[in-house]
Symmetry: C2
Subunit: 174 residues, 2 copies
Amino acid sequence: MDQNTDDVRRKRPPERDLDAMDRKLLGVLVEDATTSYAELGERVGLSPPAAHERVKRLRRSGAIRRVSALIDPDAVGKTLLAFVHVDTTGWGKTQALLAIEECPEVEEIHSVAGDTCMLLKVRTESTHALEGLLARLYDTPGVKATRSYVVLSTYLERPVQPGTTSDWPAVVKG
Amino acid sequence: MDQNTDDVRRKRPPERDLDAMDRKLLGVLVEDATTSYAELGERVGLSPPAAHERVKRLRRSGAIRRVSALIDPDAVGKTLLAFVHVDTTGWGKTQALLAIEECPEVEEIHSVAGDTCMLLKVRTESTHALEGLLARLYDTPGVKATRSYVVLSTYLERPVQPGTTSDWPAVVKG
DNA sequence: GATGAAAGTTACTCAAG
DNA sequence: CTTGAGTAACTTTCATC
């Protein structure tokens, strides 16, 4: 189909499904990937070599995509966060539209189902920079309209978590 | 576009503003935080001790929030991504609403300006799990309505980037 | 998997230019 | 900031049970 999605969605054969131990390891490494294998094993109930072996497998299988330094947006001057809905004429997944991924301010590009076509997560230094990005969007062929949701406060922002609600011991519902 | 020179906004503990070298270091560490200080220094044009000293400062100042293992959503079974707009009666920043951060499926919670109050980024294993989350939202006092944008394809998803478009020497237009 | 041990890197600190 | 040196710590592998 298209090769544009190859960087984001790696289709790898999952050799084995992740068990509870793998999830615990991932949980620790998501919080702090600098954890040594000694402490890692201790926190999940495994010997250091066993922990190392499993983490190595998690990396090789692609379950761990990469180890990244998460930086404070304010520290690099990016104080403005916004979600931009993009309406297009026809099918919005054009090469020209996806080209905005070259802007470091654009952190996410999704096609969505709903009353809009594409959804962008954008982090800029200022409203002026956001305006520049919107201007570029409107210059893109096929872009009909945009709707921006400027973030006032962020209460939670974290990476993909290995756990699910169903992992909880009990779910209390009324 | 020139930026104001008397722009003195020291609200955090950044002792000094990040220079170009710090941004280059961050750029490398965002891509791969396992890079050794030897290679790190080589790639930015610094000696290993100098690179180490700067990275240590970046961590201490909070510019590097944490080093995290970014995991593949598919590997942990989270194949469904959705953005949920939440409309509330009155001011939506209630304690009850923010309590959903306990769900590992909820990755982001923002209050936004626009035709909605709160914006959630949610990643679940299935549509059924998403339904369960929406049910919990509707059980929350003050929640009037929700609008979900289910992601069909993700074309880009990356952490906060240290660079900006203005860093570029020239802007290439398609 | 657990244990123990070995070898190679790297982190980290400190000297001096 | 650079070079160089040095120790401690960790990674990584392997042989053993």
